[in-house]
Subunit: 364 residues, 2 copies
């Protein structure tokens, strides 16, 4: 158990943006909301997962819809209380703590806002250890946890509870309502007891985000030594490529951003080519036509000068980026994990090979 204040939030937001693997939204709006909530309501207690009783009700909080809409459509600050009352009324019991469902610029921050405003603790756990585009892509699905009952509230004060027969129907119905509410809403889903959270959750993800963020910040301010080497050390990352963005292809389909970014090698990669495919998050990285990494491992693009994460919606011609691969959470590498979020699910006809195995014998 420890406190999260403004300094921690800055670091968590930066680190979570890296773990967002290209998605999870821009951390700027979320960070401002979290800092505002802490200034107003005080610091948030971060609980280690093992500090949560097995029978306590733990509720993940997230934003559903387009992060770009959130940037324009302000929240009113009461969403979390409405959601709290809604979920509490449904279960007929108190919520013990909030938690994030994914690591990412926006969705790592909103549970902090909720915790601050409701005076509840936040659990140091999530259901992905990264960001994924679809609602059912959480470790809790592997554990048989249903996304519903799912709570949804908008900034006007409307609230909805869904209970669906499959998580696909959750997506379908919640997306309809999200659109009717203006394109961005606050939700709680995969509410679960402490025992389930401990069994299937990605533990200590908030702390990991914070440490990563802190290290990235220090690197950014450092001008001595081999910064790139230290970046790879602190992230435990594999360097896949370094290049200049020469093309970005985008397509919005089914409320997702699909696309591909094409890179031309620089420095030691001069003369070589690479590309990264994405659906909100980066899915597959290819170097000279050969697969270098795939989901569920994390494929992250960072600025070669500042090591700041570059999300898929900020990709643009001329930007120089390093492509880095990070090992995913162990449970994603199980058969059930690969079924849920492996390359074939996303239409990439290849087996999943762990990134450290692909990188055996050095870089691609």
């Amino acid at each position: 158990m420890r406190k999260i204040g403004i300094k921690e939030i800055e670091d968590i937001a930066l680190g979570a943006a890296l773990l967002g693997a290209g998605g999870g939204g821009d951390p700027y709006v979320g960070k401002l909301m979290a800092i505002g909530a802490i200034r107003e309501c005080g610091e948030v207690t971060l609980l280690d997962p093992d500090e949560v009783p097995d029978d306590a009700l733990v509720v993940p909080i997230a934003m559903m819809g387009a992060p770009t809409v959130l940037a324009e459509k302000a929240v009113n600050g009461n969403e979390y209380r409405t959601l709290y009352e809604t979920v509490k009324a449904y279960y007929g019991r108190d919520i013990y703590a909030f938690m994030p469902i994914e690591a990412g610029g926006v969705n790592s921050m909103l549970p902090i806002v909720a915790a601050a405003r409701l005076g509840l603790p936040l659990v140091d756990v999530d259901g992905m250890g990264r960001a994924f585009p679809e609602l059912q892509m959480v470790t809790f699905t592997i554990g048989g946890v249903n996304a519903t009952p799912m709570g949804l509230v908008d900034e006007k004060g409307n609230s909805v509870i869904f209970k669906t027969i499959t998580n696909k129907w959750t997506e379908e119905l919640a997306r309809s309502v999200t659109m009717s509410c203006g394109g961005s809403v606050t939700v709680s889903l995969y509410a679960m007891d402490g025992a389930t959270m401990k069994k299937y959750g990605v533990k200590n993800i908030v702390t990991r985000s914070e440490r990563l963020g802190s290290a990235l910040k220090n690197l950014k301010n450092s001008s001595t030594g081999d910064v790139e080497k230290r970046f790879l050390e602190v992230t435990d990352g594999f360097k896949l490529f370094k290049g200049k963005i020469v093309d970005v292809l985008r397509e919005t389909r089914g409320a997702f951003n699909f696309g591909r970014v094409v890179l031309e090698g620089i420095a030691e990669y001069k003369g070589r080519k690479a590309d990264v495919e994405f659906q909100n998050e980066n899915l597959v990285a290819r170097v000279d036509g050969r697969i270098a990494a795939t989901v569920p491992d994390l494929i992250c693009l960072v600025d070669t000068g500042t090591f700041t994460p570059v999300p898929t919606d900020a990709l643009k011609y001329g930007k120089r980026v390093m492509v880095v691969g990070l090992k995913c959470f162990e449970l994603w590498r199980s058969d059930a994990g690969i079924d849920l979020v492996g390359p074939r699910y996303f239409g990439c006809d290849t087996d999943y090979i762990p990134i450290e195995k692909r990188m055996e014998g050095g870089s691609v």
Copy 2:
């Protein structure tokens, strides 16, 4: 307290179709469902409103969406149990009884199905005493009752609970989900305690439907005496016109059927003209350009030969109909009632004048 069996259902369906005032859907599908439920689960207990304790939870049941969809998209029969469990879980207490929210071909029947399947009683009351097109058009709105918490279930087993800031938002969000679920769902809304039901409800509407239906059936089988006169006596109706349909104009806008039917006089109305405007239900009747009746009074079209009600979706060229006006429930004639369902709400720029006043000094 009395029992409702198959004979009663036949009569209720016929009478409710008249009180549907052109809307409320074709009673055929609803009647089949009600008869099926009673054959399977036994007769339903009909309670007088005064037999319901003041603090008992009473829940109206209805269909939302297009009745034409319901005719093609079968129900699975478990909707009412899901709805029951959903509402019960939300309130944390048992439902004492179901009730209809409006009188009409479909929505007078579904609460009987729910009551039979769940073994609960039905209360002899509704919130309109007729049918109206929009969700907020119930006497309970005048009493300050909110439409939400509203339960919605589909035939697949998905369920949703809405809690909205206004009844317009209830319409908006529930309609989105209804469309995503395939265009027809079962809902519960305006759940209330017994005291509120007794204070604002239209009492004995089921019994009134049944008596009307029974009388219409007898008239239909009768061939002696002045049947038309007896029809007007049993319905307490005002004859506004008799004519042949010479034109039907229809427009589907905002998920409603808007339109106008034009009549050419027959018999004692020979040489005269009339028209009736509708939005699902009949709104305004004009004879020779002069208003003969408006909402909230009921404007009903019946077959001149059989006295069977003719709903707006069954209007067609050449059909001979009598236009009949019926007095609406007293509460609709209050200022709040006229605001909610008076002619101006529906875009007809005229004051509401009670039908018996318009008819003073004989027919139009």
